[in-house]
Amino acid sequence: MVGRFPPSALVLGGLALALILVFMLLPLGVVVAASLTAGQFLTFPPQGLSFRWYGDVLASEAYLSSAWTSLKVATLVTIAATVIGTAAAIGLSRRRLPGRALLAGVFLSPLVLPSIIFGIGLLIVFSIWGNGPSLLALALGHTVLTMPYVVRTVAAVLADADPAIEEAARTMGAGPVDRLRFVVLPQAKGGILAGAFFAFNVSFDEAVIALFLRTPGVETLPMRIYGQLEFSPTPAVAAVSTLMILMTILVVVAIERSLGLRKVAT
């Protein structure tokens, strides 16, 4: 067989890919590099190498309390979104449920609706009927936003699962609860884990709803960074951002291990 790709395509393609990858990674690389500066100011390339700004961040009351807020919200959100989303995905995977396609669309709709519109809606609702924005309000908003990820990953796994196993369990006398517990949940495990990691990551990183529901008491880490960016960022902002990039890398690895990136991404 003739070569599938002519040399010119390989060279041009390779060059184009290299350029695109530089373009994609440039902003992240610059942040990481700038966080390592020994100097007083935010510069690229950094001046000298040191971890002094990481020490600064870890000693900063403001950053630590924001990180704690983000962690609290993301943990609540991960639990709620994973439980509710998994149940919904299992329900949606049952052929006998009427209106499945429509329902599936409704469940995925928070993924496509602009979060600025959702954010302002939440702000209005909590201001009119509640006591204004709170940590719980933010967690509720993030649960809506992240549940579709869980529904999607769990549904993807269940679509490939063998229905004969549950049928066999049923024939052997297992009731609905036992079948869920011993057959369906183990079958969905990879999807549930990947969905949970997704939910945690999206909630921890989210910036738009957090901006609308921001109060002095509820300031997440992305909001702290955003606030700094509006004025004059110091290398400490780069250090926090680098820590957030590292966390994202961990989540990506976890998703790859639990379900596989390829399956999640397309």
């Binding site: 890919l17 994609m24 992240l28 509710i84 949606l92 960016l229 951002s241 990506v252 990136l261 397309t266």
Partner: protein, 281 residues
């Protein structure tokens, strides 16, 4: 068996989806619906029901903001399609290890907080950043050129932020094109580029179109990146809405602008969802 277990079988899935539906109705559809109501209901005693919309269309400032948002979104979409197609094709046809590497390098930026990515672009495009240095090196710019607070800067940063959506949507479609189709064209004498243009590109069109609709819809409503890169001098619709909702506290007007944005975005997303459904079957 379907007959005997039918009734009981229906209870289980309904019980399972109920908490999710309750959450979506209470915490999603209700707040969004609230915006629609607030945009129509008169905000002051002397104002009519549709006054917020009338105000939008009568004010030159808001029309210019809407036009800028539309224009930039169009540019961003075109650029992501142009860059995204070759990247998605490479991902679909590259050897396994390379495909995985490309996927990883697409997903990693996508999953990084948009605030962090925008921060990176602020440094790249700002004074003393690498882009400025490069432009000066090639003599393209006499003095330290700063792309921060320019429309070019917004487009560059937004393309990086949204490219993964285009690539992943297109990849899903290209991965479904059987390589035999390309081989057939090649065996019949078509060159690589001709095959790409006349076989792969037309077949990837559903992916490119739905990717474009998605990217366009997201960029129309994006806030963080345009706001930080463009600054106060170059507001887009989302920043105008934020301004009204948080600083001016004119919720009615903010809701009216949100409704207009929602209508524009839904007009794009409905065809996107229809295309995605057809691609899946």
């Amino acid at each position: 068996m379907p007959g005997a277990k039918g009734g009981q079988g229906l209870v289980e899935p309904i019980v399972l989806v109920t908490p999710g539906i309750a959450l979506l109705f209470g915490a999603f559809l209700f707040p969004v619906g609230q915006i629609l109501v607030l945009s129509v209901v008169p905000s002051g005693e002397e104002l009519g029901a549709w006054s917020n919309f009338a105000r939008f269309f009568a004010d030159d400032y808001y029309l210019r903001v809407a036009w800028r948002t539309f224009r930039l979104s169009l540019l961003i979409t075109a650029a992501t399609a142009l860059i995204g197609f070759p990247l998605a094709y490479a991902m679909a046809r590259a050897p396994r290890w390379l495909a995985f590497l490309l996927l990883l390098l697409t997903v990693l930026p996508l999953m990084t907080s948009v605030v962090v990515r925008t921060f990176g672009w602020m440094m790249v495009l700002g004074r003393g950043g690498p882009v400025t240095d490069l432009l000066m090196l090639f003599g393209l710019s006499a003095r330290s050129a700063v792309l921060l607070q320019t429309e070019t800067g917004i487009v560059v940063a937004m393309v990086q932020v949204l490219l993964p959506f285009m690539v992943l949507t297109t990849l899903g479609v290209i991965a479904g094109i059987h390589p035999h189709l390309e081989e057939a064209a090649r065996t019949m004498g078509a060159g690589f580029y001709r095959t790409l243009r006349h076989v792969v590109l037309p077949l990837s069109l559903p992916g490119l179109v739905s990717g474009s609709l998605l990217v366009f819809a997201i960029s129309m409503s994006s806030f963080i990146t345009p706001n930080l890169i463009g600054g106060v001098r170059l507001p887009v619709m989302a920043s105008a809405i934020y301004q009204q909702a948080i600083h001016t506290l004119d919720w009615g007007f903010a809701a009216a602008q949100s409704t207009l944005l929602l209508i524009a975005v839904l007009g794009l997303l409905v065809p996107y969802l229809a295309l995605m459904r057809r691609a899946r079957v």
